[in-house]
């Protein structure tokens, strides 16, 4: 069943878990329906800021009806969101997007890759996989490895840092190359565009299926405005013009289908 509404949710907790990175939990029935890789639209608590901020779901807990979002302050809107305290209301549009096809990972050597603020949605993916052979490659700027301990509950964690202060110096692909015994059969990833481009290339060269989660500036979040599109190899289903809607047909795409 699809969960699709705009509602007023209540903040359960919010804390800054790293410099400029916030861990927000809200109470909503949507938690019972959320798929890993889906996102929500959070509206900044301000009349002058109209549009929702698309933020990936980090984790959902159906029992406590809690959705967890971990996001970075990127501008005024997220700055306003970061001021929310337990008990405050926040307007939320959900559930948005398709999510990762975790069913395709069954029985495979699964490599999850997250870079920077692309790390949080991969936690929900790792949690949902009832598999033995799950590796999470997490790329950070430095040794401030937010969420890495959460991943250890569900996956073998491999860390890369840009400054080399922890793990392999470089990005997530450098870390994967360094782990010669990990032979990925499927990759699921979220992170900055250069990382996703490199993963797309790596997957094509090695003939591995890769699913990547894209982001773009959005307005409606529901496929009406055509603000957030990605270039596609084939004609897209909506407009038949090789520009597919990230909010609706994505944000997760088979890397072979998008031109990034």
């Amino acid at each position: 069943m699809d969960y699709r509404k705009k509602e007023t949710t209540v903040v359960v907790s919010q804390e800054e878990i790293s410099d400029g990175i916030f861990d927000l939990r809200v109470k909503t029935e949507a938690a019972g329906y959320a798929k890993p890789g889906q996102f929500v639209g959070l509206f900044p608590p301000s009349d002058g800021h109209l549009l929702m901020r698309p933020i990936s779901i980090c984790e959902s807990d159906a029992e406590s009806k809690t959705l967890r979002m971990v996001y970075r302050i990127a501008g005024d809107g997220t700055k306003l969101l970061s001021g929310l305290k337990a008990g405050d209301n926040v307007e939320m549009l959900s559930l948005l997007g398709n999510g990762f096809p975790t069913g395709e990972a069954v029985g495979k050597c699964i490599v999850l890759m997250g870079g920077g603020i692309g790390i949080p949605p991969m936690l929900g993916v790792s949690k949902s996989l009832q598999e033995e052979n799950v590796h999470a490659f997490l790329g950070y700027r430095n040794k401030d490895t937010f969420l890495s301990e959460d991943f250890r509950k569900y996956a073998n964690v491999h860390i890369a840092s840009e400054d080399g202060s922890i793990g392999v110096k470089g990005n997530v692909l450098d870390a994967l190359t360094a782990e010669s015994e990990v032979k990925p059969e499927i990759i699921m990833a979220c992170g900055p565009m250069p990382m996703l481009r490199a993963i797309k290339k790596y997957a094509e060269e090695n003939q591995i299926i890769a699913y990547i989660s894209l982001e773009e500036r959005m307005a409606c979040g529901v496929g009406a405005c055509l603000g957030c599109v990605a270039k596609t190899v084939n004609k897209d289903a909506h407009s038949h013009v090789n520009n597919t809607r990230i909010c609706t047909e994505g944000p997760v795409f088979d890397a072979r289908e998008v031109e990034i």
């Binding site: 509206f43 109209l50 409606c220 009406a224 407009s239």
Partner: protein, 300 residues
């Protein structure tokens, strides 16, 4: 209490419509609102062939508003008729199709293709600021606007609404040109051309450099222009620009609009169209007003 309004012989159960480009073809918002409750569904602009639109980023927020430069991405008239109009047939709601083109012939092709369909009205988009050819070129020159209106009226089987641009010196000149050429109604305002610069990247936020400003930020400009046009022409006006509430909709109606459209605010509150219908009903009953038609242009 009577919320019905009539434009060019087409009756609408209430004056609340959707603004083109903000509501898809209705499908995308049918999870949120009962389309049967709306005065009309005005669809996303459709051209004779599919248009890919502009590069991204296409949208950005601005104070109490947003800029967009979608560039009229659309699937073209064939898919539109087969899929989108077919979907809308599930509802008892008048459909107004927004028509766009790069040349007069493009517009005429779409108008002709729609002639045999059951759509209620056509809205001609001569005011999109985000495509280089056609569109706004017709909407910023009164002679060009007169000519295209006249040619469309010669072949159109449905009543024709000309959608006007605010990006002109005197919008009443455009309203008069449309009326003189036989337009059945006008709708205004389309978005106001704007720009946002990212000072960190020292670049434009939108790939198109400029975009159309919409949302509550433009509402006073839109109300003023509706008022001016209502005093300049006799044909009905569909008013739009930053409508977020029933109070806003009533401002446009009192300024002279027969109907109103909700645009960017669908993104903020996907239930807003129906809430505005209910708010207008409440206003009528609380003020003892028999019909919403009494309010059209009541502020002189």
């Amino acid at each position: 209490m009577d919320t019905r309004v009539t434009i060019a012989g087409v009756e609408f159960k209430n004056p609340v419509m959707t603004a083109s480009g903000t509501f898809g073809s209705g499908m995308e918002y049918s999870d949120f609102v009962d389309l049967n409750r709306l005065g009309a569904v005005v669809t996303k602009g459709v051209a004779n062939v599919p248009w890919p639109g502009n590069p991204t980023p296409r949208v950005t927020e601005t104070p109490s508003g947003m800029l967009n430069a979608i560039g009229l991405q659309n699937p073209g008239i064939d898919v539109f008729i087969e899929r989108d109009l077919e979907f809308l047939r599930n509802y008892d709601v008048p459909v107004i199709v927004n028509v766009c083109g790069k040349s007069v012939e493009d517009y005429l092709t779409v108008v002709e293709r729609l002639a045999d369909t059951d759509v209620s009205m056509l809205e001609i988009n001569v005011s999109c600021p985000n495509v280089k050819e056609g569109a706004i070129a017709f909407g910023q020159n009164k002679d060009a606007l007169f000519d295209i209106t006249k040619r469309i009226k010669e072949i159109a089987k449905q009543p024709v609404i000309m959608k006007l641009s605010p990006n002109v010196t005197d919008i009443t000149e455009m309203a008069r040109a449309a009326e003189a050429a036989g337009a059945d109604a006008i709708s205004l305002i389309n978005t106001i051309t704007g720009m946002k610069i990212d000072i960190k990247r020292r670049s434009f936020v939108l790939a198109n450099k400029t975009g159309g400003l919409s949302g509550p930020a433009i509402r006073p400009v839109a109300v003023r222009m509706v008022y001016q046009c209502a005093n300049a022409v006799k044909i009905p006006i569909i008013g739009m620009g930053g409508i977020a509430s029933a109070e806003d909709a009533l401002e446009f109606i009192m300024a002279g609009a027969t109907a109103v459209s909700v645009g960017a605010y669908n993104f903020v509150n996907p239930y807003s169209t129906v809430e505005i219908v209910e708010g207008i009903e409440k206003y009528l009953s609380e003020t003892g007003t028999q019909s919403v038609r009494e309010l059209i242009g009541c502020v002189k």
